[in-house]
Amino acid sequence: MHELGIAQQVIEIAAERSGGARISRIVLEVGKLAAVLPDALRFCFEAVSEGTPAAGAELQIVEVPGRARCRSCGGSVELERPYGRCACGCSDLDWLSGEELRIKELTCAPLADATANTITTTTMTTS
């Protein structure tokens, strides 16, 4: 399944950002409407992180709820699954959130030092 490829991407990006330093924690945002199963992703992550800087790292998955706006009446709709209906009966919805699949944060330990420290002061922006 695609969770395997996604886990590999997560590790690739994390290793790039950590500059090869050991990673102890990855915070990943997964939208409720993204076609990704958190359990499957965790399972794949453990399997493919072995032998990489992310081996043994904690994968913290933050679920983002699904929200949409109705294209007929403008009403807001909460989505539990990737389709739904506005109170007005319309199913043509503009998704506002819930499709996220992004790495939010990394915690790494410098190679020479085994103690993990979160560097929150350096903000890198790429996207």
Partner: protein, 212 residues
């Protein structure tokens, strides 16, 4: 450390590059997705013979080149991508295949994705439109079961309608489910073997603006 990076960013970037590459050549690309055996290759064999469009094909398959051979026998050039254990095509694979294929200006490229209604939904290839081939032997509740893929589709072809009288498939229920999951998708009933509805499909192909 704050990162804020989309996990699929690399694929999305490569897909955008493919889209630019195609647009520069005036080529329209269709990404055909379905569950295994819905009739993608049968439809393409017939389309390359009958639609009257200069067309080439990228065939995604886990292990074999059987579909590629079928397309070549039908008279079109085709390039094979074997995904191995991978369950979908990605933009990187398609970029290489497009270079090999070297489609002529203003032609049509069909990309037959791996038969799978889950994974291909996440991977943009740079296509102009996604065409989902469903068939009446799969059950009329498919849009609810694979909402991501149905939502991503621009056109849904309901194939094998020649079998409607033999299977318990309610075409109205299917249409209602599709409307709920994706009210914007077009729906056409076709039979790739008997030929029903193929005129409308060829019309869709001809009308399609380049790299929408």
């Amino acid at each position: 450390m704050k990162v804020e990076q989309d996990v699929l960013q690399k694929n999305d970037r490569l897909a955008a590059e493919n889209r630019g590459w195609l647009r520069a050549r005036g080529v329209t690309a269709f990404n055909l997705v379905s569950s295994p055996g819905s009739g993608k290759t049968t439809l393409l064999e017939r389309t390359v013979r009958e639609a009257g469009l200069p067309a080439t094909v990228i065939e995604g398959d886990q292990a074999t080149d059987r579909d590629t051979q079928r397309i070549r026998a039908a008279g079109a050039r085709a390039v094979q991508i074997n995904t191995g254990a991978g369950c979908h095509l990605d933009a990187h694979m398609v970029a290489h295949a497009l270079e090999d294929l070297d489609p002529e200006r203003d032609s049509t490229v069909f990309i037959e994705n791996v038969g799978n209604l889950v994974c291909p939904a996440l991977f943009d290839l740079g296509e102009s439109a996604k065409v989902l081939v469903a068939s009446v032997t799969e059950g009329d509740d498919k849009p609810y079961k694979y909402p991501h893929m149905f939502r991503a589709a621009n056109l849904v072809l309901l194939n094998k309608i020649d079998l409607l009288e033999h299977v318990p498939f309610d075409a109205d229920r299917f249409a209602a489910a599709l409307r709920e999951v994706n009210p914007r998708a077009r729906l056409l009933h076709v039979s790739a073997t008997r030929g029903d509805g193929l005129g409308a499909w060829y019309g869709f192909l001809r009308d399609r603006p380049t790299s929408a």
